[in-house]
Amino acid sequence: MNEAYVVNNEREVILNVGPQHPATHGVLRYVVKLDGERIVDSDPQVGFLHRGIEKLAEYMTYHQFNPYTDRLDYLASMNNNLAYVMAVEKLLGITDQIPERAQYIRVIMAELGRIASHLVWLATHALDIGAMTVFLYSFREREYIIDMFEMACGNRLTYNYIRIGGVARDLPDGFMDRLKEFTKLFYGKVKEYHQLLTKNRIWLKRTKDVGYISKEDAINYGIAGPCTRGSGVDWDLRRDMPYLVYPELNFEIPVYDEGDVYARYLVRMDEMVQSNRILEQCIEKIPDGPVMIDEPRYVWEPKERIMMNNYALMKHFVKVVKGFKAPPGEVYFGAENPKGELGFYIYSTGEGKPYRLKIRAPSFINISAMPKMVKGGLIADIISVIGSLDFVFGECDR
């Protein structure tokens, strides 16, 4: 029996921060054992949004599973797509054949997704603690980004744009100009957010020395992403286990040592600026060329070929109905998501459908560290910590 459910003396009270709560960012049931206002023990209960995506993956081909990855972390869908697609490409062994233009487009989409996700984080984190203005400001910038996404692929929230072997279609005319405009104005906007919050006394009182986790504990509890960088761990998958064209781009990794909510806030704010830097470099360096590899064994061929040649049509049917034959083996690939490290573990037996697909979700691991972070704090600190951990239940419960 978990300690959080056992009442030891008459001062202790068990409180249920229930699944329906405006500040829990989703359906989280958080059971807290209180002694007055101090938290003695707690137990998060997840699983209210469990949809069985891992089981569904065993009945679908690799191409068919792509839209399901969008719905994991629905605030940064491009990054989820990217992690899954890179895991499948690693399995097939075609990682170095992806054309360069496709790689640059993927980086652009990933960084835009990171900025979009951090804007939502800022809005809701500040809103929970009480600052409503920040919500309206950051959602204004997010609209700009979502409009750009709609130009590229037609959707505002779940994109299915990054496919196995490249991207679905080339960027439309006018996308690059819009992107340039965005990068120019974004620096100023970040300064506005800093002016609202960073030296604000109420903000400092609510977030400094709250939710502390040490460096060793952060590694031991398996947290990754901005949460560990706020505790002094200098680790970022884009630099330490690089993928796509990140080695050719210049960017810094912000690391702060304090380990509390304020440090994580600063990490994310700096990350947004760094992502903007990456976007500026990509605009200049992006080459011309195809956006999808020409490997008829795995990827759809152009429609002209399919409609004119009978062998292309036959192969197309086999790829769609039975799925391409992936080589047998197992791979793991982790990508740097805005929330942490999203990893896909695929076990393939040589068929067209994966035998086992495991999604390593950052939010799942981050929530498991919550009891350690809030112990000894006040009830109101729960809200700050929830905001700073930034989890989404789509990927936590899968």
Partner: protein, 783 residues
């Protein structure tokens, strides 16, 4: 182990037996070699040449499906030469193949699509040669029944020709030269297809050239769910997959790993439409008017309560699951306390299994027939009664060339085309024939006996049978259903006892669970697990008992009385007794029974059938209907009666799953060779048809398209004497008259006519009388 050799494939060493082919060795060890025209059902043809492999030391690639392994062979399955060779073959096939994947039915399970994908064909250098104007479009046979042939999609692998010839033994397809210079698959004589319509060619064609008209354009292969179940049309127990989409059965397929080797007959493959709701009983009926389930169950229980135990009888139709039969037995023996239970199995195998001789093995795997070096087919047309025995006989005699065939019947049948020693007698003379054969064989085997008969048995037959090491006895259902069927069974038992443990018995049955009826103990003379019991009540006595008023209430479980009785006898039973009728399919009995309760068909029920091998085959639920299983209806009636049926006993009885037959007979018995007194010049026989099994099979699309109405078969000389020509309608009269079409067949012996059973609307038992299959015939030309 002196005949194992070592071969090297792709660098690794493997062991193989001496006369295995390279393809078999590779498949056994998980190495993939594509092969389009090879199939385990008939062996290698060598027509497609895709299976070519490179052997170190030989210049050209050799075909691995036909080449046998030799010691020390080194084989490369994926070298460049081989891949180039295979690609050239596929280029030839792709040259003329129309761009129809989007509309072709086979798309998604097509062999040509798979081989194009595996070889990753990205260009076709032979495309320039194909001038669409130089080759006229090939024929598409729209006029064939049930099977649709499109010669444009054919890749000429000759699988259909081979399977029709070597497995089904009908041999109607061939590669025929056409006017445009090339060859196409067509019938040997060019006429529209008129065959058994078993659909084997459809199931084995790798492309969409041979397809089924009943399934055309209904669904895509990946949309359908497959449910493995057992066929319900005869006791072969062939495993098949019902392909279901949206709660409808759209087609039937079978896989290679089944005991019947993916073979199915016309009844099994094309008659899934019997389970459509328009052919089924839709609501319970009481006294002829629709009612609901609770009222019907209450009325049934009331009928059973209002009569004494000796006045109630139960009949099982041998088409329901073993669980249903066990529930009925428990209810009737423990609650109503009557032993008046019988099933349709007592018309044929019940008679034989109560006199089984010592040493004979009664339930054998059909594939074990390959161990027998003589096959003795007696008393029935094996191909019409149980096609699975026909395929196994063909495999033994034609493909593996292991056995000799001895047939004993009153006419030539399909298996005689394999080449057999033919023993012939007149219909009705079965016992005399068996006694004569017994006498001759006893002489050859030096067994002293005084049983003998008057028919002369040729010397070569006696020689073949007496020198046999293992004999397979294929006993037809027709012979055991003669008026003196019990005597036929006894004479046959004498014959089997002569050979002792050399005999493997295969007693055919057109009822899918007649062996289950023996296992459950619902057959006269058998108790649970097939143990012998005293004979108390027989199906044959039912009409008389009802007429005398001794039986007042009858419980029928899947037993349509019109399948074994004439219309007149059946109606008398329905008039005089209170009949409770549980069945799934619409029939004449529904009109006359007092209480009618619908139960689930074989596609909606869960249970087991026992087949001729004694195997408990699982029947799985594929579609959902709002109807209870027969077992549950019996449990509810029992509950209403006041008896709590112990369901645990049913499970316990099923868990045993082995028979406990008493094989007591160890000495020869004297059998009186009675016959049948034919009056008049023509002898009439009621035979089984390949296209009907139970009257409800007339609802099936495949069976009714293949043969819509029954035909009377008559010898050409008799037809000439009576002035009848092929296709005329005649009135055949025995106890009463029936109007059927006539067909002249020169394999019919002179003086004999035959009419088939179970065609809806033409009850053959009206002519011959209930439960007999011989009659004195009078023919008159009708209009």
């Amino acid at each position: 182990m002196a005949d194992t050799v070592k071969v090297k494939i792709n660098g690794k060493e493997y062991e193989a037996k001496k006369d295995e082919t390279i393809l078999q060795v590779a498949r056994r060890n998980g190495i993939y070699i594509p092969a389009i025209c090879y199939s385990d059902r008939f062996g290698a043809i060598g027509a497609c040449r895709i299976c070519a492999v490179e052997i170190v030391g030989m210049k050209k690639p050799m075909l691995s499906c036909a080449m046998k392994v030799k010691d020390g062979m080194e084989i490369l399955t994926d070298s460049e030469k081989v891949i180039e060779f295979r690609k050239n073959i596929v280029y030839e096939w792709d040259k003329f193949h129309p761009l129809q994947c989007g509309v072709c039915d086979k798309s998604g399970e097509c062999g040509l699509q798979d081989i194009n994908y595996e070889l990753n064909i990205t260009e076709n250098p032979l495309e320039k040669e194909a001038d669409p104007l130089s080759v006229p479009n090939r024929t598409i046979h729209y006029e064939w029944k049930i099977i649709h042939h499109d010669a444009n999609l054919c890749i000429q692998c000759r699988r259909c020709v081979t399977i029709c010839d070597r497995v089904v033994n009908f041999g109607i397809l061939a590669l025929v030269k056409k006017e445009w210079g090339g060859r196409e698959i067509d019938t040997k004589d060019g006429k529209p297809l008129d065959c058994e319509f078993c659909g084997q060619c459809v199931s084995i064609c790798p492309t969409g050239a041979m397809s089924s008209k009943l399934f055309k354009y209904k669904a895509r292969p990946w949309e359908m769910d497959k449910v493995r179940t057992t066929c319900q049309f005869c006791a072969s127990g062939c495993q098949m997959d019902l392909n279901v989409k949206d709660n409808k059965v759209l087609r039937v397929t079978s896989e290679d790993d089944t005991p019947n080797m993916a073979n199915l007959c016309n009844l099994g493959r094309f008659n899934y439409s019997v389970v459509e709701s328009k052919n089924l009983i839709n609501s319970p009926k009481v006294n002829g008017s629709s009612s609901n389930l609770d009222v019907a169950i209450k009325k049934a229980a009331d009928i059973l309560k209002s009569h004494g135990p000796d006045e109630i009888a139960a009949i099982c139709g041998a088409r329901e699951t073993v669980e249903d039969q066990l529930a009925l037995k428990l209810f009737f023996e423990n609650a109503i306390k009557t032993s008046n239970i019988d099933s349709f199995a007592s018309t044929h195998i019940g008679k034989l299994f109560s006199v089984l001789p010592k040493g004979v093995s009664p339930l054998n795997n059909v594939s074990d027939m390959e161990e027998c070096d003589v096959i003795f087919a007696f008393g029935g047309d094996v191909a019409n009664e149980m096609p699975r025995l026909d395929w196994q006989t063909t495999r033994n005699v034609k493909l593996l060339k292991k056995s000799k065939l001895v047939t004993a019947y009153w006419r030539d049948t399909k298996i005689d085309t394999l080449g057999s020693v033919a023993l012939r007698y007149e219909p009705g003379q079965e016992v005399e024939f068996l006694n004569s054969l017994f006498g001759s064989l006893a002489g050859a085997l030096n067994v002293s006996t005084d049983i003998k008969g008057s028919i002369e048995i040729p010397e070569d037959a006696v020689k073949v049978l007496s020198e046999a090491k293992k004999i397979a006895f294929l006993v037809g259902q027709e012979a055991l259903e003669r008026p003196n069927g019990s005597d036929v069974a006894l004479a046959l038992a004498n014959l089997m006892l002569l050979f002792g443990d050399k005999v493997k018995l295969y007693a055919s049955s057109k009822y899918n669970n007649s062996y289950g009826a023996i296992y459950s103990g619902v057959t006269n003379g058998f108790d649970l697990y097939g143990k012998s019991k005293e004979k108390v009540f027989s199906l044959y006595d039912l009409p008389k008992l009802v007429e005398d008023g001794k039986i007042r209430a009858i419980f029928l479980l899947n037993a349509d009385l019109f399948t074994i009785f004439s219309d007149e006898d059946a109606r008398k039973i329905f008039d005089k007794a209170d009949v409770i009728y549980l069945d799934a399919y619409m029939s004449d009995s529904v009109k006359y029974a007092k209480v009618v309760i619908p139960v689930a068909t074989f596609a909606s029920t869960d249970g087991h059938y026992v087949n001729i091998e004694g195997r408990f085959n699982r029947v799985r639920k594929a579609i959902d209907r709002d109807v209870l299983m027969a077992k549950d209806v019996v449990i509810r009636i029992a509950g209403q009666y006041g008896y709590n049926l112990p369901i645990g006993y049913i499970k316990e009885a099923l868990d045993k799953a082995t028979f406990d037959l008493d094989q007591d007979m160890d000495s020869f018995r004297n059998v009186q060779s009675g016959g049948f007194d034919f009056t008049g010049s023509l002898k009439g026989v009621v035979v089984y048809s390949k296209f009907r099994s139970g009257i409800f099979s007339s609802f099936g699309e495949g069976a009714s398209i293949a043969m819509e109405e029954p035909v009377l078969e008559i010898n050409p000389e008799d037809a000439q004497t009576l002035g009848i020509e092929d296709g005329n309608y005649v009135n055949v009269e025995g106890l009463s008259a029936l109007r059927v079409k006539a067909k002249i067949d020169d394999q019919m012996p002179k003086g004999v006519v035959s009419i088939p059973l179970w065609f809806a609307g033409y009850n053959a038992y009206n002519v011959s009388g209930s439960l007999t299959n011989l009659f004195s015939a009078k023919l008159m030309k009708g209009e």
